[in-house]
């Protein structure tokens, strides 16, 4: 609820929200429909600034490149800033397997890493943890009890993470956007870790979803008006960092090397088809914050990485419907997500499309398909339709004991029938 109120207040400062959303939608759509061109433009601009670009088709390719880059830097410790793409490819596990320690430096992610858990919200990863939970986790690291007061916890986190910032050989981050025109990446954060991770270690690796480009800095400015408002209800986050290349001659800080890993990992599946709009997603979390199902089910219910309505649409498209057949049904189709999406992705309509695919690709069970076929054969004939509603009255005492009725009546009573059907009234 707090997220919702914050969100409402932040929008109040904008003159014409609808016009802004429409502009943002068009920017994203233009980028996605001409993505190859913008990727080429981005790559050339990045390289002209002395940074390296690697296009990774799969999670394995991305991980291999990241591990290899860390090895060449002689890295034993990698400091990480929050990145959902890195959760998606499970880079921490890949680094660990290579004997390299990765430490999450975003506070929420750090807490989850200590607890050995995955984020349940794409913006607020540890939203369910209480101060007492965190104190317990920090006490283990400190080797002595840490009080659950917020100031104490912040001090402990700072103490623990500072060591990581200063001794890490590689900084690993995500990127909210890549700007094709300038070869810049943009990082939107609320904690200082993003700045430390991208400037202190001698190598910075940024992981960028291939669809997260915008053509120009002006376009970026439009999206930056929407992203924080949609995500955390802020007009602007504490830090908005635009990084264009590694440290140049004469500059006093910044990494010696900058590597940008552009990640496909299933995103190409969405291109050109009716799901292409989903590539417009800017991972703001607005759809999670407004979703009544997410509020009840929690983020873990959607799988280990993404959550909420955006996950219900995106994950089946990335990994295949047969591997995520329940997700398109993890929605009451209320449409609150579509209404909240800052780039106007029709999320609930895409869920309807995915449900159609579940049936047509026979991922839905044969029993379900047969059930709907029989239902439609009966209800497409007025006589049988009328007969079935008569029979339903007779069978009412049984209805709560069979199939869907049994599930329904676990928490609810069945509807009572009117004494006579409307159509039978004189």
């Amino acid at each position: 609820m707090r997220m919702l109120e914050g969100r409402t207040n932040a929008w109040a400062g904008l003159e014409d929200v609808e016009a802004l959303r429409e502009r943002a939608r068009k920017i994203r759509q233009r980028t996605i429909s001409d993505l190859d061109r913008y990727l080429a433009e981005f790559t050339a601009a990045v390289e002209a600034r002395g940074a390296k670009v690697r296009f990774a088709r799969t999670a394995e390719e991305a991980n291999a490149y990241i591990v290899d880059t860390c090895r060449r830097a002689g890295a034993e410790l990698v400091a990480k800033s929050k990145s959902m793409a890195s959760e998606e490819i499970r880079v921490n596990e890949a680094l660990q397997a290579a004997g390299i320690r990765a430490v999450e430096c975003d506070l929420g992610e750090y807490i989850l890493q200590l607890a050995n858990e995955h984020p349940i919200h794409i913006i607020l990863p540890a939203i369910e943890k209480t101060a007492a939970d965190v104190a317990e986790l920090f006490s283990v690291v400190e080797g002595e009890p840490v009080s659950p007061q917020l100031e104490e916890l912040a001090a402990a986190a700072r103490r623990q993470l500072r060591k990581v910032f200063f001794s890490a050989d590689v900084g690993l981050t995500g990127a909210n956007f890549g700007v094709a025109q300038t070869g810049s990446i943009c990082l939107v954060t609320n904690e200082g870790n993003g700045g430390l991770v991208t400037s202190l270690p001698k190598v910075h690796i940024a992981l960028l979803g291939m669809e997260r480009l915008v053509p120009t800095l002006d376009d970026l400015a439009v999206l930056l008006q929407l992203l924080p408002r949609s995500a955390t209800g802020q007009k602007l986050t504490s830090y908005t960092r635009i990084i264009s290349g590694p440290r140049r001659e004469g500059e006093s800080d910044g990494p010696e090397e900058l590597h940008i890993v552009i990640l496909d990992n299933g995103r190409s599946n969405l291109r050109g088809g009716r799901y292409e709009e989903m590539l417009s997603c800017i991972r703001c979390g607005a759809c999670l914050n407004v979703c009544p199902v997410y509020r009840k089910a929690g983020g873990g219910a959607y799988g280990p990485v993404y959550s909420g309505p955006m996950a219900a649409v995106l994950v089946p498209l990335l990994v295949g419907l047969e591997r995520a057949p329940a997700l398109p049904h993890a929605s009451s189709l209320c449409g609150a997500c579509t209404a909240a999406c800052p780039v106007k992705i029709p999320l609930h309509e895409l869920l309807l499309e995915l449900r159609k695919d579940l049936v047509e690709e026979r991922v839905a069970s044969a029993r379900e398909r047969l059930g709907f076929t029989l239902w439609s054969l009966a209800w497409s004939r007025p006589f049988l339709y009328r007969l079935s509603t008569s029979l339903a009255r007779l069978a009412a005492p049984l209805a709560g004991r069979l199939g869907p009725g049994l599930v329904w009546t676990r928490g609810r009573d069945l509807p009572a029938f009117a004494r006579r059907r409307f159509r039978d009234l004189p």
């Binding site: 049904h329 009451s332 695919d357 839905a364 379900e368 709907f372 928490g411 009573d413």
Partner: protein, 209 residues
């Protein structure tokens, strides 16, 4: 249905009930079963003449018939009205049957977000003499969602509880969608909660405080 008929007649309309009509196909459509939905929807369209507007006492059925069905079948859109929107545009003045009643109104999702109907049912209830009680987040889904209510029964019921628990100091919770009505009423009957009524019933019969 009889309540809806009464309201339309009071507003001066002649009401016909095509006996050959069947379901609009929405349950199958929302579950992804397009062939099944098409089969039923085709019969639905055959039952109605295009000379008369179709008035439907359900936000979600109206949405299906108005928005999705023409595309599903590749037919010209029908003139479909949700009941309260029809009465409101007709300038209908409902009889004062709810004097002294306090009612909370729940927006059903499709009616609110697809059809943009929110003020009409509230206005009719007020003109029938009722006072509207504030309901926290009236736009938040009640958790029915068609097959969702069977696929995710625990979440579905938890959402209903949120909605029902939000009702305070009201004689009844009123909605304009039979799906929400069946779900919320079923939950209230099982677990305790306010009376839940269709807007047509509240207007045609009055809610006794």
């Amino acid at each position: 249905m009889a309540d809806a008929e009464l309201l339309l007649e009071e507003a001066g309309y002649e009401v016909g009930f095509p006996p050959e009509q069947v379901c609009c196909g929405q349950p199958a459509f929302n579950a992804g079963h397009r062939r099944a939905a098409r089969r039923v929807a085709r019969t639905f369209t055959r039952a109605f003449s295009r000379d008369w507007p179709i008035v439907c006492p359900s936000g979600s059925c109206s949405t299906m018939a108005a928005h999705y069905l023409p595309e599903l079948l590749g037919v010209e859109p029908f003139e479909v009205w949700e009941l309260s929107a029809f009465l409101a545009q007709a300038g209908a003045t409902p009889s004062v049957r709810n004097d002294g009643c306090t009612l909370a109104y729940h927006d059903s999702c499709h009616m609110l977000r697809e059809l943009g109907i929110a003020d009409e049912p509230r206005g009719l209830l007020e003109r029938s003499g009722a006072q509207l009680a504030p309901l926290p987040r009236p736009d938040l889904c009640c958790g029915f969602g068609g097959t969702f209510s069977i696929r995710q029964p625990e979440i579905s019921v938890a959402m209903a509880d949120d909605k029902l628990n939000g009702v305070s100091n009201a004689d009844a919770l009123v909605t304009a969608d039979p799906g929400c009505l069946m779900h919320l009423r079923g939950r209230a009957a099982r677990h305790g909660g306010p009376r839940v009524l269709h807007v047509a019933t509240a207007l045609a019969r009055g809610v006794r405080p």
